[in-house]
Symmetry: C2
Subunit: 185 residues, 2 copies
């Protein structure tokens, strides 16, 4: 049976760290942002926030609200993996698409705007916002897609407000182990 | 200086329990739903879902998206309280209204849909949903007002997924004490 831990959360909240905790425990990781970035590259657009945002918008328009989730499911089927962590859920439509094909635990990784801004500054990825204004614009763009609803209806919420990397990894591992144990019992 | 702990969260997540933890520590509690019910009574309408819904609509039309928050602020000013917990935040417009007048800590109390449904069944308040369908409709109504955005941009998130009442109270007290200590330092 395919099990998917679907991770949602605002930019910079710590989704990658949470996902890596499961990778260390043998789960296969699929990053929704990577799927979008690959598609952005394929379409010849810049790999910045504007380009990826535009491709996300186009994909949804062409293939529906769950477009990126469907691309991820194609990739998961190709690998044959049975324990997969999908990182970067942005809407309930995506969650529903995964639930049609797998047992899903939707986990929200949460942190305050100021904490997330600090973490993004540390990370400094090419599409990360450089100023507070850009950060707030990106937040609003994510909320516009419906990420707030996915966060609000999560099965589990993990706060990264006061956690170290190790603390967040441990907390993530704990909720997923509990889920798997419960499903198996 | 006026300090407001603003609590948001989906129906049944445990907002009242979280607020009561602060009341025990001397904070004054203002329930946004009570403010709406008082205004409904003042206008001579029935205190049912139709009456309160109509008053909410009128209030927003007359005074804007933050109307209920503004009424709460009037009440807070009347009492002269300096530490207030406001229970029932539904949108970022309300949070912004509070931030104009006070130092605000926005706390999201989170629990999964299945956990919240169970807690609401236990509570059995007159306006609580009786069936899974009514529960989901109410969730969607709250999300439609923008509660997901308030949850996504919270300063602190407290999970009530696996907590006892005492556990949730302790966790709430901890994040608020930390905030006050940090602001005073």
């Amino acid at each position: 049976m395919l099990r998917i831990v679907a991770i949602t959360g605002m930019p910079g909240a710590g989704k990658s760290t949470a996902a890596e905790a499961l990778v260390k425990a043998g789960w296969r990781r699929v990053v929704m942002g990577d799927v979008i970035r690959a598609e952005t590259k394929r379409r010849g657009l810049e790999l910045d926030a504007k380009g990826t945002g535009e491709v996300m918008r186009l994909l949804r328009k062409e293939r529906g609200e769950s477009a990126v989730a469907d691309l991820c499911l194609d990739e998961i089927a190709r690998t044959g993996a049975e324990r997969v962590v999908v990182d970067g859920i942005r809407s309930l439509a995506e969650v529903d698409a995964f639930r049609k094909k797998a047992a899903v635990l939707l986990v929200a990784v949460d942190a305050s705007p100021s904490r997330r801004y600090g973490l993004l500054k540390e990370r400094g990825r090419k599409d990360d916002p450089m100023t507070k204004e850009m950060f707030q614009e990106r937040d609003l763009r994510e909320l516009g897609v419906g990420i707030g609803e996915a966060i609000a209806l999560a099965d589990e919420t993990v706060s990264n407000e006061h956690e170290s990397t190790t603390g967040l990894e441990g907390e993530m591992k704990r909720v997923v182990d509990q889920w798997v144990a419960h499903e198996l019992s």
